[in-house]
């Protein structure tokens, strides 16, 4: 490590007050500047922050975007999820490989490029997509890959790749992204005009308890997926003892196929921040943190600017809107590539500068959250709903949607349809109606709620989207008849194995076993008893896993087995001679044969 790097790191640590809880900011900063966090850098950071070195290494090695080994100047990360796989992922991968002259997870000898894949980056409506450092490139094809690499070779500056910016704030000078919003349907709650301060002014005229009561009367339930009643969560947190309290906004949006928070962050940041501020007022919190997934780093400057404007207008900071004693401010915490950090206790761990392991519950965040203080964690969209509830009234809000699921829901629609994008629909809409709305004529299967949700077929298309029937954090992926159900399931299991934090046995090991069995079945080595094997293993993982990841990760297999049994049955066959089809004699003795100097072992078929 040279002197410049040493002084860069020391200054960075100082600017974070040498606070070990700011470790994420520090390692993300070092990675950004040097394309790695070397062993020496870890030692220095550990010494500056007073942490064991292994704790720094623990965090660096946990997050996908951080690395101990040297990466290239430009890190190309091709989005790998089922939607990208449907729209030319293999071709694009090959094109990049050829243009760059390297394979996956390699760096060019000149140190200029590293080529990798990454889990869903929230661009399924403009797939195939990739990240070039923090710059998003969308709608890739083999020709554009050639041009991109050509242009990067000249200046190694991904920002120059953005020739034409997208609509709305994607063209804001602080965003400058080629991303499109694709807002296909504006409902009454999220995508209407909003004047910053409008809701807050009304809220501050009420007592904190009245604010909570409004949220309860509106029957608001969390939009992140689980649907917990927001008012109740706030009440618990308000009642909990603590010198400090925190409001956290979950903008990790890692569930493959979900991208609605991206569009809210781009177009309605004031609605989010205002909801967070109202929450702070309601529960008596002075500090808010918005956890922004690393994939959305391109929005960071814009969001910070919005916060600055709010401070300047008296909507954040001391004595907000002149209200004595109400001080509240918000900072943004960047993530670094880990789906698990969307789980609320893992999100808190990450904000605390730890690896993104979920925490044991109880205690719940409402009792002991960030740094041990009572903490509210809500989804981006939930906070937006709060702003509107206070702006227009609880009664107005509850008129939309159904009794058990009031309001509207943003859906991120992708896959086989003419108009992928974001739709704001009232709760209670049926799958049929939705498919018609998005231009999907020949739909065979729909994945509701992303991989952790369920895969349903035509028999279920009359069912409705709401908390009591088909619940979703927002993802709706559409598949036509010519898609291979097991390929979809495989992509999802690959994802869960990749994203498990590895803390608990059933999730860490069980998902690998599910994935392996699925691969065998797809390779034609399945036998009828495999169905029972998958079911029982899947149920065990769901029942015994420690957090929501493992408690839902077998869903792709379990729900596809229930709704598309033929996809499995047609691949399973009983071996007539009673052999185990999965047993491969050659493979089993390969190592022994190699050591003994034999070639292939021959046996009769």
């Amino acid at each position: 490590m040279n002197l410049a790097e040493r002084s860069f790191i020391t200054k960075l640590c100082q600017s974070c007050g040498k606070d070990p809880h700011r470790l994420m900011d520090i390692i993300i900063g070092v990675q950004g500047a040097y394309a790695r966090v070397s062993g020496d850098a870890m030692n220095l950071i550990a010494a500056e922050l007073g942490l064991p070195r292994v704790d720094v290494e623990s965090a660096v090695s946990f997050y996908q975007f951080l690395s101990k080994e040297q990466k290239g100047h430009v890190r190309i990360r091709l989005c790998d999820d089922i939607i990208d796989r449907m729209y030319g992922f293999d071709r694009i991968l090959k094109a990049f490989s050829e243009e760059l002259g390297i394979g996956l997870n390699q760096t060019t000898p000149d140190g200029k490029f590293t080529f990798e894949t990454t889990a869903c980056i929230g661009m399924c409506d403009q797939a195939p997509a990739a990240l070039m450092n923090n710059v998003v490139v969308t709608n890739l094809n083999s020709d554009s890959v050639h041009d991109l690499v050509e242009s990067l070779r000249k200046n190694l500056n991904p920002e120059q790749l953005v020739k034409k910016t997208g609509n709305g704030n994607n063209s804001h000078p602080l965003v400058r992204a080629m991303v499109q919003n694709n807002i296909r349907r504006r409902g009454p709650v999220i995508f209407q005009d909003f004047t910053p301060g409008e809701a807050l002014r009304k809220g501050l005229a009420m007592s904190p308890m009245e604010v909570i009561r409004s949220v309860k009367t509106a029957r608001l339930r969390g939009r992140g997926g689980a649907g917990f009643p927001t008012g109740m969560k706030w009440e618990f947190t308000r009642a909990a003892a603590g010198d400090r309290k925190f409001i956290m906004c979950n903008a990790d949006e890692g569930e493959p196929g979900t991208f609605k928070d991206r569009v809210i962050l781009t177009e309605k940041p004031n609605l989010i921040f205002e909801g967070m501020t109202l929450a702070g007022y309601a529960i008596g919190a002075g500090e808010g943190i918005l956890y922004l997934r690393g994939e959305y780093t391109y929005l960071l400057d814009f969001l910070n600017e919005t916060l600055k404007e709010r401070r300047a207008s008296g909507l954040l900071g001391k004595s907000i809107l002149g209200k004595d004693g109400f001080d509240f401010d918000i900072r943004i915490q960047l993530g670094a590539g880990a789906y698990i950090c969307g789980e609320e206790t893992a999100l808190i761990s990450s904000c605390e500068g730890l690896r993104g392991d979920p925490k044991n519950r109880p205690p719940f965040p409402a009792q002991k959250g960030y740094l041990g203080y009572p903490t509210v964690v809500n989804n981006v969209e939930t906070f937006c709903c709060v702003s509107r509830i206070i702006e227009h009234g609880a009664g107005w809000f509850a008129e939309h949607g159904t009794k058990g699921s009031s309001g509207t829901k943003l859906l991120s629609v992708s896959g086989d349809c003419r108009m992928p994008g974001v739709y704001e629909v009232p709760f209670g809409i049926s799958i049929h109606e939705l498919l018609e709305m998005v231009g999907a004529d020949d739909t065979y299967a729909v994945q509701i709620g992303g991989p952790s949700g369920q895969l349903i077929g035509r028999a279920d298309f009359q069912r409705t989207i709401c908390f009591d029937d088909l619940a979703t954090g927002g993802a709706v992926m559409i598949f036509d008849e010519d898609r291979d159900v097991l390929e979809i399931v495989q992509a999802f299991m690959d994802f869960f194995v990749h994203e498990s934090c590895g803390y608990c046995t059933p999730c860490r090991v069980g998902n690998v076993l599910l994935k392996k069995k699925l691969e065998e079945i797809r390779a034609g080595k399945g036998e009828p008893s495999d169905l029972e094997y998958l079911k029982s293993l899947g149920e065990t993982i769901k029942a015994t896993s420690r957090c929501g990841l493992g408690q839902t990760s077998p869903n792709p297999i379990l729900t596809s087995m229930a709704h598309f049994p033929d996809a499995y049955l047609k691949l399973l066959h009983e071996d007539k001679q009673g052999y185990q089809p999965t047993f491969d004699l050659d493979e089993a003795v390969a190592t022994a044969a190699r050591i003994a100097g034999h070639g292939r072992v021959h046996h009769e078929d």
């Binding site: 062993g39 030692n43 064991p52 070195r53 292994v54 704790d55 290494e57 623990s58 090695s61 946990f62 880990a338 698990i340 690896r355 993104g356 044991n360 109880p362 194995v497 990749h498 994203e499 498990s500 934090c501 590895g502 803390y503 608990c504 046995t505 059933p506 860490r508 090991v509 069980g510 690998v512 076993l513 392996k516 094997y533 029982s536 293993l537 065990t540 029942a543 015994t544 896993s545 420690r546 999965t582």
Partner: protein
């Protein structure tokens, strides 16, 4: 007394102090709940999930879940046993456990649990991962092939020995224990007399030079299944 609460395990009414975990409360009453990552005296971890019970109808880790008044716990139930067996089998196939020539054999809690549950061979395919052995320290070594990621060494070292010699790195199936140094254990302050050395339930973190010294027949689990000590104490006290 306001700070004792009553609950039940397998239909048996039990009293315990408020704030106790299900596992501790059971143990105080002579009921053994199988466990691997849990170790007395250090903070609970909740990672192995072998202690899974059904509490008020929901599967929960007994080592991290506090008892609540009137809680109904199922421990000795077919469904619970099936889940525990599955988890133990997962641990066996995840690593490379060759008990027949392992120096921990007979004193290994993973092996002892397999015996207690009557597991002869796991139903899952072995994953045979390639894992390393850190043999650089003069007195101790880590054989990652046998590590079950219970964090008992990490917690014991930090909480009892007051040292920072180990931690976890990587995530998911690649997660592993790592030394608090660039080049392995030899650069740390670990010592063979550390409590952390005694904390490893399997043959992963081991002292050098003393393998196979206890003859078969005198090893910890040679005569009675793991957990018998807890169950026996109960029988003795009720007599």
């Amino acid at each position: 007394m306001s700070n004792t609460i009553t609950f039940s395990i397998d239909g048996k009414e039990i009293e315990c102090k408020a704030g106790r975990t299900i596992l501790d409360a059971a143990e105080e009453n002579g009921i053994y709940i199988p466990r691997l990552c849990h170790r007395k005296g250090v903070s609970p971890h909740g990672s192995c999930r072998v202690c899974t019970v059904i509490a008020n109808g929901k599967p929960m880790a007994a080592c991290t879940t506090p008892v609540t008044p009137g809680m109904v716990v199922e421990n000795d139930a077919e469904e619970v046993t099936a889940m525990r067996k599955a988890i133990i089998e997962m641990l066996f196939v995840e690593g490379n456990h060759f008990c027949m020539f392992c120096e921990k054999s007979g004193n290994c809690e993973l092996q002892a649990l397999a015996y207690r549950f009557g597991i002869a061979a796991p139903r899952y395919p072995y994953l045979f991962p390639h894992r390393e052995i850190d043999f650089g320290h003069p007195d101790v070594f880590i054989d990652h092939n046998r590590c079950i990621l219970c964090a008992r060494c990490i917690r014991t070292s930090r909480e009892i020995d007051g040292k920072e010699v180990l931690g976890f790195v990587e995530r998911g199936p690649r997660k592993k224990v790592a030394a608090n140094a660039e080049h392995g254990l030899r650069e740390t302050e670990i010592a063979v007399g550390d409590e952390a050395m005694a904390a490893c339930p399997v043959g992963a973190l081991m002292p050098k030079h003393v393998g196979y010294q206890v003859p078969i027949g005198k090893r910890e689990f040679d005569h009675e299944p793991i957990g018998s000590d807890i169950e026996k104490e109960a029988k003795a006290s009720t007599k």
